[in-house]
Each structure stands twice: as C-alpha cells, then as structure tokens.
Symmetry: C2
Subunit: 295 residues, 2 copies
C-alpha cells in the first residue's frame, strides 16, 4: 500500500469513528430521522475532503483534535449536499456509493430534513469549545465554511448546474460553476487545515492554489467518469449529464481536451506544494489518486 | 397604536432594512437563486421572532448592532424552515403570507437551494466580527442557534410532525413536537437577546420560561386558526392538519380546552417577566398579541 493509500485509509477510519461518536443517536420519536442521518453519513465514502484537512494540518503538527472536528464538519456538509442533490427535484438519483440514495431508502421528507440537520450540525460541531480552544479560530472556520457552502459557494454552483446550458455552456461558465459546486468545499477542506495550523500567508496561498487545481481536476475526472464510466466502478448512475442536457467539462471540451487539462492541473497542483519538500509527499500522491481514480 | 404595535413595527422595519442590506444581491448566473432568496426573506412577515431578540436586548440597553444581526440570523432560519416546510414532499403548500410559496413562484429545486442558502447564511452572519466584538459570544450564539435548528430542535419537530399520529397522538407527544418545531426558535430569539445583554442567570431563566410559554401558546393559536380560520385572515391554507391526519393541540385537546390552556400560558408568561417591572411592559403586551392574533 502506498503512503497515500495508508494515510487515506487512516483518515477515513478516524473520521468514521468521530462521526459515529458525535452524531446524535436514535431515541424515541426521532429514531427515523436519526437513523437516516446515520445511514447517509456513515456510508463508507472515500472521505477525501476530511483527509485533506487532516493531512494539511499534519504537515504542520497542528492539534489533532481540532483538525478532526473540522474534518467532521467538512464531511457533514459534503453529505448534506449529496443528499439534497440526489432528491427528485434535483438530480433524481437512485444510487449513491452503490446503495439506494437516502430518499429511496427512506422518503423524500426524511431525506430533506436529514440534509438540513447535517448542514446545521456542521456549524454546531465547529462552534463547540471542544473544536478549538480559541473562539476566534472557531469563528473563522465557521465563517469560511458558511461562505464555501452558501449562496456564493456550493448552493450557487448547484443552482447553476440545474440551470444547465442556460447559464454555463462555455468553458468559463462551466469552470465557474464547478469552482462553486465542488471546488469551494475542497478548498475549505485544505484551508481549514492551514488555518488551524496557523500557517504563514505564503504557505496558505500555496495550499489554496493546490486545492484550487485539485478541485478542478477532481470535477473533470468526475465528468469523464460520467461520460465513460460503468456503474460497477462508480457506484452511482452514469451518463446522466448528457442525457439531461447538462453541461460539464466533457460536453464543452470533449474527452481528449479534458484529459489534457487534467494532466496540466495535476502537474501544477504538485508544483504549488513543492515548497514544502518531503512533508508534502502525501499531498502530491493525492493528486495522482484524484487523477487516476475510477470511482 | 399600542406601545407593543409601535415596537413590533419598528422592529420589522429595522429587520427588513438589515436583511435587504445583508442578503446577497443578484448578479449574473446566480440571479434566479438570489431573487428567490429575497422573495422569501423580504416578504413582509410579522418578524415576531426577531422582535423578541431586539426587545429583550433593549430591556438591558444591550448593543443594538449585535442584537440586530442576531435578529437577522433568527429570521433567516425561520424563513428557511418555512420554505422547506412548504415543499411538496413536506406540507405541499401553495400559499404563504398571501403569496405563492417559493416553489410555486419559482420551482422546487430553487426553493430547496434558497432554503439551504438562508440556513447557511444565518451562521455566516453570526460568525462575522461585525455581529459582536467578542468571538466567544459569537460562538455561543452559533452553538445555541444550531441546537435550536438541528436534529434535536426544529428538524426533529418537523420530522415528528410529518410522522403525525404515528408518534405524537397524545398531549405529551404533541407538546414535545411543538417545543421542537416552533418553540426552539422562539426560545432562541429570546435567549439570544438575554445572552447578548449579559443578563444574570436568574434573568435568563425567567426570560427562557417566558419564551417557553409564549411559544406553546403561539402554536396552540396556530392550531386553532388552522381549524377555524379563514384563508383571508391567515394568508395561508387552513384546515390542513385535520385533512392530512396530522395531530395538533386542537385534534388532541379540542378547541375549548386548547383556548383554556392558551389563557393559562398567557397569564404564566406574564408572571415570568413580572420581575422586570415596567421595563417588560412591551413583552407582556406581546403575550396578548400572540394570543389574540387572527393571522
């Protein structure tokens, strides 16, 4: 197992244990809601976003407990966004990570509410003194997460994605949409690690650029997998975007030019963290993982 | 105009101005989403919850700017909850405050995302240094708001409401559901004012009890209006609960016993703030307003 694969697995294990410990447990009249929240949040995703938070913080020997709580908040926001994106009025997906989506396993109302609860919970986790001894740091993380998730971040990207060819049918439009839809939270994942580590401005900038490039590459790979993948590999329905008249990197650039750009972004992302030397070797391996993944 | 009516109007005006100033403005590809957010948030509601925050803080001469931002956060969470509750998979309502509900005016996906954005925005507003100079206070408010809104507060109440007779067909069940569904945010509205004002523990307890009682009375009046009201008065569809097999105070207690309890709660709520003397006269008038309202 590569150093990266070991670290990713270790991060996923830690996130799963922390999520299980922090998420509310079923009790009485809320049992259906709580079970739904846990079904969605504890479903064995890759945990790539929280991995970034933990790994960036680790480079600076930052406080592990603070990193872990920020990582949990990231994963809660990611899970909420998947739940809401899968709903019938959005992408109307039946499969997620190889299992029925939440509204298929439960019902639409429960899925809507479970998503709302997870988004709210992310802020509750970060506001708690257990997240960081310095309330100023907690506020900074909350503000940054809210910006990444809100009407100028993920929500805006999702709205643009739904609008499809009406708004973003050129490369600039698609790039902007994806910066918001997936890039914003990947950036927060990396930035949160640097914030907690009290990295220098130059270090924070370098890491943010790394996150920017890996975020775009990530989405381009997603779009390639959607166009070419098989359901067995991705665990979710494929060929969706074209069938729905949606625009993405592959519909705008074609597969070949998309692959070329992925290669350029990967190279560039690694260069951004060159300044950290061997400390960033796992982050560099993460680039290859994102680019080569088949799921 | 009574002192209360004047204060409520003044509070509503201030909230409307602050919301208009703070909410994102339309631009480019996000214009539809932003317009939807503004349609829902700037729709001329009573602004009763933010009124409580402002009025409680005013009793202690607390910082006006801090109170106003907390009040804005309260109203954003309230609006988000109305948007999501109105969706087809929830209460499926066509009218809200006399206008088409958000998903009727726009579409379901936009309504879902606008709700998500407003919930997120509430935390962004509170995390900002402009909300309060002390980050510890900001974190306290965020944590309390997240608890009121989350899987053990509003979301849990809404889930129990959807489950209907399955979970809460007795008075204890209905009371618990309403404490979560509407009581939790009314309590936060009052508690936030007391928190910002750095009220004493005894004062905070008295105000929390006031909020508890007025919150229950508020919901009981809502249930009476639903059972007996006319669409012209409430600006929303009525007679919904019974038709849907939902349980509420009127279906469990009957109208007469519900009216009796409202009277008891109103009296009790006023007693809780008696310790503040004339300073609480507007809060006492607010009780009469809640009890006598026809919309």
């Amino acid at each position: 197992m590569s150093q990266f694969a070991a670290r990713l697995k270790e991060a996923a294990d830690r996130i799963n244990v922390a999520l299980d410990a922090l998420l509310p447990r079923e009790q009485g009249s809320e049992s259906r809601l709580i079970n739904a929240i846990r079904y969605a949040a504890l479903d064995g995703g890759k945990r790539l976003r929280p991995f970034f938070t933990l790994e960036v913080g680790r480079m600076f020997d930052a406080d592990e407990a603070a990193l872990l709580r920020a990582a949990v908040a990231v994963e809660c926001v990611h899970t909420y966004s998947l739940i809401h994106d899968d709903l019938p009025c959005m992408d109307d997906d039946d499969l997620r990570r190889g299992r029925p989506t939440l509204h298929r396993q439960y019902d639409e109302a429960t899925a809507l509410l479970a998503g709302d609860a997870l988004l709210t919970f992310a802020f509750e986790v970060l506001a708690d003194p257990a997240s960081h001894s310095d309330p100023q740091m907690r506020c900074k993380l909350i503000a940054a997460l809210a910006r990444a998730a809100g009407a100028q971040g993920m929500v805006a990207g999702q709205a643009a994605d739904m609008a499809g060819a009406d708004t973003g049918s050129d490369l600039i439009g698609v790039t902007r949409m994806n910066r918001q839809k997936t890039g914003a939270l990947i950036n927060f994942s990396v930035d949160a690690g640097a914030l907690i580590a009290i990295a220098s401005e130059a270090e924070k900038t370098a890491l943010s650029r790394y996150a920017h490039d890996i975020g775009l590459a990530f989405q381009m790979v997603d779009d390639l997998l959607d166009a070419e993948g098989v359901i067995r590999d991705t665990g979710k329905a494929v060929g969706k975007d074209k069938g729905r008249g949606k625009v993405n990197f592959v519909t705008v650039l074609g597969a070949e030019a998309t692959r070329e750009r992925i290669g350029m972004l990967a190279k560039q992302a690694k260069q951004h963290v060159a300044m950290f030397g061997p400390r960033a070797s796992v982050l560099r391996e993460a680039v290859d993982f994102v680019v080569e993944r088949r799921y």
